[in-house]
């Protein structure tokens, strides 16, 4: 049995997206900036895709800028809000402790350039508190950037409430919605979102393409200078096959979303129940306010990379917040942010299931994780110390 349970890392392209991409490479190869008909047809196709994508999140087509993916969109959004803020003497930014590194590293860079950053705590449930956001807002706050759903633990943030607070205070609100677009309903108008980042390969589209939504009225700053593509806000010949395939994948993802999410949430909860049966384990992040496909557990006394490799041998592709999986010294900043101490954060496992997951597959996952955890604990000196009472269990 082969089970791909790492859809938060990337997804398999849908057949329709592959077909669209192939068709566009074969037929609509013209440069949208060219004046002859082949070019102008490409331009029409580009605008069709833009309108389709805008429609899905209730934006205007002109509010969508195509980018190379989520990281670029995040970078451009933060730079835009920072430079616009600086012109008005506003140099304070509010974000959260468990954002994606595309946000956190950009914020670090802005700090070096004189900006001040407040990172809101995300608490044990992995959700920011709106009262703490309100308390952190200052006269000179120019941007609030909070992700829609966390990439590791899948917790969903109160985006609409955050949007309303920001609108009330006249502060730009950006959300990194890379894990949410195509998986959760999004309405940028109803949710008061000023800027939003998305990435195609997280919803069965191709890699290397994404988009940034910027509400009209906000002056967009360029990351990439050059030609006049994207209304002069993002230079470079448009990746039309990728963009068209992204639009196709997004349309498909949001069709029947409710039904697909209900199925995934059912299997997710089945997995959570099954894995909770493993002694001294714990679910990371809120059990309810979470993406329908996300399961993230910590197992005491063992290390995550070992779990992943043994699961791979059993046909299961998953991920971990262990330091060993990335070559870093510290385990995942997300798990540390929700208060998991290093010892326990190293022994984490993220399963991000797809919509075609079956109950039989979930049973195989639960059985395999049980075996693997038991095996690794059987020769772990930490587990021995815990079971012999020389050390106290952290996960009861």
């Amino acid at each position: 049995m082969q089970i791909y349970a790492d859809n938060a890392a990337t997804t398999k392209m849908s057949e329709a997206a592959i077909r669209t991409m192939t068709e566009y490479m074969q037929t609509w190869y013209g440069n949208p900036s060219s004046l002859y008909r082949i070019g102008q047809r490409a331009k029409e196709k580009l605008e069709e895709a833009r309108a389709e994508i805008a429609g899905v999140i209730n934006a205007e087509p002109r509010e969508i800028i195509f980018t190379s993916g989520g990281s670029e969109a995040d970078n451009q959004a933060l730079l835009t809000a920072a430079l616009n803020g600086k012109k008005k003497g506003k140099t304070h930014i509010i974000s959260s402790a468990f954002e994606h590194h595309a946000i956190l590293h950009t914020l670090k860079k802005l700090e070096k350039n004189g900006f001040e950053v407040t990172l809101l705590p995300v608490h044990e449930n992995g959700i920011v508190r709106t009262d703490e956001l309100e308390a952190a807002i200052r006269e000179d706050t120019c941007l609030v950037t909070i992700m829609t759903a966390n990439n590791e633990i899948g917790t969903i943030q109160p985006v609409s409430e955050i949007g309303a607070i920001c609108r009330k205070h006249g502060i730009v609100f950006h959300t990194d919605a890379v894990q949410a677009v195509g998986h959760l309903p999004i309405d940028v108008k109803a949710q008061n979102i000023d800027m939003l980042s998305a990435s195609a390969h997280k919803f069965h589209g191709p890699k290397g393409v994404g988009f940034l939504y910027v509400r009209k009225g906000i002056l967009i700053q360029n990351l990439i200078e050059g030609g006049a593509q994207e209304r002069g806000k993002r230079a470079g010949t448009e990746n039309l096959p990728g963009i068209a395939a992204m639009a196709e994948a997004l349309k498909e993802s949001v069709a029947d979303m409710e039904k697909k999410n209900a199925h995934m949430a059912e299997i997710r909860d089945y997995l959570i129940r099954g894995l909770s049966g493993i002694p001294h384990s714990a679910l990371n992040g809120d059990a309810e306010q979470r993406l329908p496909g996300n399961v993230n557990f910590s197992f005491e006394g063992i290390e995550g990379e070992s779990i992943l490799i043994l699961l791979d041998m059993r046909g299961i592709s998953a991920s971990s917040g262990s330091a060993c999986t990335s070559g870093a010294l510290d385990p995942s900043h997300v798990l540390l942010a929700i208060g998991r101490i290093h010892d326990v954060a190293h022994g984490s496992l993220r399963l991000s299931i797809g919509e075609d997951i079956t109950k039989e597959e979930a049973d195989h996952i639960i059985g395999s994780v049980r075996e693997v955890v038991e095996h690794l604990r059987s020769f772990s000196p930490v587990w021995r110390d815990l079971t012999e009472g020389k050390k106290e269990f952290i996960l009861k």
């Binding site: 290390e303 070992s306 262990s322 070559g327 010294l329 190293h346 020769f379 000196p381 930490v382 021995r384």
Partner: protein, 126 residues
């Protein structure tokens, strides 16, 4: 290219000399859970020959494979030979480790040295 060599995978999937020696002549433990690796080595030594060795490891695949390989390299060997064991020898015997995993072989060397030191201390006290 695969992340690990076939030897590393073999020693990770089928670790040799796993377990505990209750009446060990030397025990060494190195690393800490904060950084994600702990190794514990148990030695049985007879007439300055390592007659048995067992290990327990909390860590990634290369940490487990390094422990396993290190035990194989010193089992049945004189204490003086074991004292010469280097992390490089462990890594080479595993057909290499990724650069950022070399510390796993260092930990294996340190665990063996720590167990040997415990053995010497016990011997002096006796």
């Amino acid at each position: 290219m695969a992340l690990y060599s076939e030897k590393v995978m073999d020693h990770f999937m089928n670790p040799r000399n796993v377990g505990v020696i209750e009446d060990a002549d030397g025990v060494g433990e190195v690393g800490n859970a904060k950084c994600g690796d702990i190794m514990k080595m148990y030695l049985k030594i007879d007439d300055d020959i390592i007659t048995d060795v067992k290990f327990e490891t909390f860590g990634c695949a290369s940490a487990i494979a390094s422990s396993s390989m290190a035990t194989e390299l010193i089992k049945g060997k004189p204490v003086e030979d074991a004292m010469e064991l280097t992390n490089k020898a462990v890594a080479e015997a595993l057909d290499g480790l990724p650069d950022y995993k070399m510390h796993c072989s260092v930990l294996a060397e340190e665990a063996i040295q720590s167990a040997l030191e415990d053995y010497r201390n016990k011997k002096e006290q006796a």
